[in-house]
Symmetry: C2
Subunit: 414 residues, 2 copies
């Protein structure tokens, strides 16, 4: 099987390194996890489940823009709705009626939502949720899960990170996922001081397996939060509309007070939403929170089109089935080569790890071998499956996986 080269990506990256810190920042910060010899650094075209890089290499994309792409790149209805809105009224002094329509749509779609608020980034609405919780309770402290990701604001980053002070976590208490006894103990020790608890619907950190909630975990948390007047916040930025159209809490059977949505909401157009219960609406309205582009109508048009399409085709079920099929096949192929491929998390957002690989290098090399054959796999972060991934894509991916394991087996043995 032909492997790709990345000369143009590397040329562009050399230019980038001169004028951009890191060249490429964030998750894609190239070294050391994203080796330049195996990964495309720049996309020039995207369509459906695929993108093409600056060297004209074609990739089946299993990162889906790290989540926003859910219906396939350049989905016809979504783009048509967004472009029509750009041509009519997008970022104007006043919002358009679409803001009202989208809020009404979310209130209908999401059982716990009595209202909705729109911003741009996931981090905008996780930050807003914390402020609403503090305003509503007149308390200072926020509980979150160790290793949980809620954006890049200083409160959300581990103390000791660059540019982050110890003081930034003064009112943050980090606890262990799925340990209800610890949750209970921390609440007892901080009685009357906890404004809110924020967590993703299941635990999907980097570098370790995803963990589903233990039986009854969320239900016990919901109950204790209600008793203690603690605002329960679900950060559904990554999972939202992939597990359940009504919020991932519906998938796990519990009711939070606030839910943060963003990534999959508008198939790539920039928007995020905080939705909440009536009891918090007054406090939400008192917190001053706004941004220059937050009333922009094109992403709202895209969100309505995306959510309608996801609902129409039952997107979460489609993605789960595709993800399960892909993973079952890959696990079987790995086994043929003597590798134990561990899959965790929801099938639409699988986290993969080769169990017989203590160094992590084998896993990284295997992802790289797949990527340079056209199946874009990232190491140590969950992948994303879209509704646009076809059976043909899956078959092609299996072929690539075969080929990559052959190479890996030669290098590492098994």
């Amino acid at each position: 099987m032909k492997t790709y080269t990345f000369h143009e990506s590397q040329n562009l990256f050399k230019r980038a390194a001169r004028v951009i810190p890191c060249g490429i920042y964030g998750h894609l910060s190239p070294a050391p996890l994203v080796p330049a010899t195996a990964y495309p650094f720049y996309a020039v075209k995207a369509r459906g489940s695929k993108f093409w890089d600056a060297d004209e290499n074609e990739f089946i994309d299993y990162m889906c823009a790290y989540g926003p792409m859910v219906l396939g790149y350049n989905h016809e209805n979504v783009d048509a709705a967004a472009i029509r809105q750009i041509e009519t009224a997008n970022c104007v002094t006043a919002p358009t009626p679409l803001m009202v329509e989208l809020a009404e749509y979310l209130v209908d779609l999401v059982p716990v939502a009595d209202w909705a608020f729109f911003a741009k980034n996931g981090g905008d609405v996780t930050g807003y949720a914390l402020m609403v919780a503090k305003a509503a309770t007149d308390r200072k402290k926020i509980l979150m899960i160790k290793g949980g990701y809620h954006g890049v604001a200083p409160w959300a980053q581990p103390p000791g990170s660059h540019g982050v002070l110890e003081d930034d976590s003064d009112n943050i208490i980090r606890i262990t996922w799925n340990d209800f006894a610890e949750f209970e103990r921390v609440i007892r020790e901080n009685d009357g001081d906890i404004a809110g608890f924020i967590a993703t619907p299941y635990h999907h950190p980097t570098f370790t397996d995803s963990e589903m909630p233990a039986e009854g975990y969320w239900q016990k948390i919901e109950k204790l939060c209600k008793e203690k007047g603690i605002v329960l916040i679900v950060d559904d930025v990554r999972c939202g509309f992939r597990l359940n159209m009504g919020g991932s809490n519906e998938y796990f059977g519990f009711k939070p007070d606030l839910i943060c949505f963003s990534k999959a909401m508008a198939n790539g157009y920039p928007i995020s939403a905080l939705v909440g219960t009536d009891s918090l609406k007054n406090d939400a309205s008192k917190v001053f929170y706004t941004g220059s582009f937050w009333f922009s109508a094109a992403p709202m048009a895209a969100a309505l089109a995306t959510l309608e399409e996801l609902k129409r085709i039952d997107g979460p079920t489609v993605m789960a089935e595709k993800g399960r099929k892909l993973m079952d096949g890959m696990v079987a192929i790995a086994k043929d080569y003597g590798y134990d491929l561990k899959v965790s998390g929801h099938p639409s957002m699988p986290y993969l790890r080769i169990a017989n690989d203590e160094s992590l290098m084998l896993h990284q090399d295997w992802c790289a071998e797949c990527t340079k054959r056209g199946a874009y796999f990232t190491s140590h972060h969950n992948w994303f499956i879209s509704t646009a991934h076809s059976d043909e894509n899956i078959q092609r991916t299996w072929d690539i996986v075969h080929d990559a394991f052959q190479v890996i087996k030669k290098t590492y043995g098994a």
Copy 2:
């Protein structure tokens, strides 16, 4: 002169109030400064210097989406570039080569910029600037100006605001604009503790006149920051590319270490940038900072098209001339009616106040009377002039201003 009615805006707002906190949040939070009887709450079409509301009323827009609109709504080249990019590759797993091109363009355009970093909101980059300053200096404290606006993050809001803790300002010191003696004293009192100073290039708060920097203010600050190793940050989110294409510091003759850009950068498409000097590049690259939509290419294509057009037509000079002409005429008209209209700030971002109005009500009523005749004026916030405001718009605005002063004079006398 016919005055507008706003039935459909009010109907939509009633629906909104049920499903959105405040109905409309942020600056446009309708009560009490934006009376429903005089203001359009929803836009349905925008073109050039104008927008049309849900009741089909036409407005010459002097808020320009609160700054992002700089070349006129739906500027042909900008929209064409953005839409072409949407159709090719917008929000993809990898950035497009446009990220490199835009960074190179900004580094060429902005004298102090050796590098550029892109995000979505102005608040994203003011927050990042603070983290870079802390990382670079290994210090904790940030100086800012009392009444300065740098976004809605808790550190940026006055303590006592809803959802904001006193603790959120533990490492923020607020000083008086244009008082270099205070600046010096605070630095002396916190010797070795100040990581950075963030301020807008001139002081443009709400509810009070804009204040230009005093003679030598910025130059003395630049000098002292250099001496003390304090990172000098200009928040050019509102003024950027309206005063000078190279950053507003060029207009005032000084060199900061970091500049935050956003609003006018892409004529309404959502993007912000932090640019900085080489000495901070390494620290900028170590701070983990990213967002789901930050690599999106359509706003980068729009930014390149906007900046090129602004440069081609010398946008800052065009806006200043239009703003000066409009204001000179309005001041003269006000005088004819016995009112003293005070104009402050840069002519492209004028702040207006009727001096013989202690209650503020007369000013608010006058803005409302103008708005319901088709010149959209907001009270107590600076306005924005775009390059699309024509002589015909200005003449029409003067006619409206005449008519509104007649009504005001009847109500209040003079």
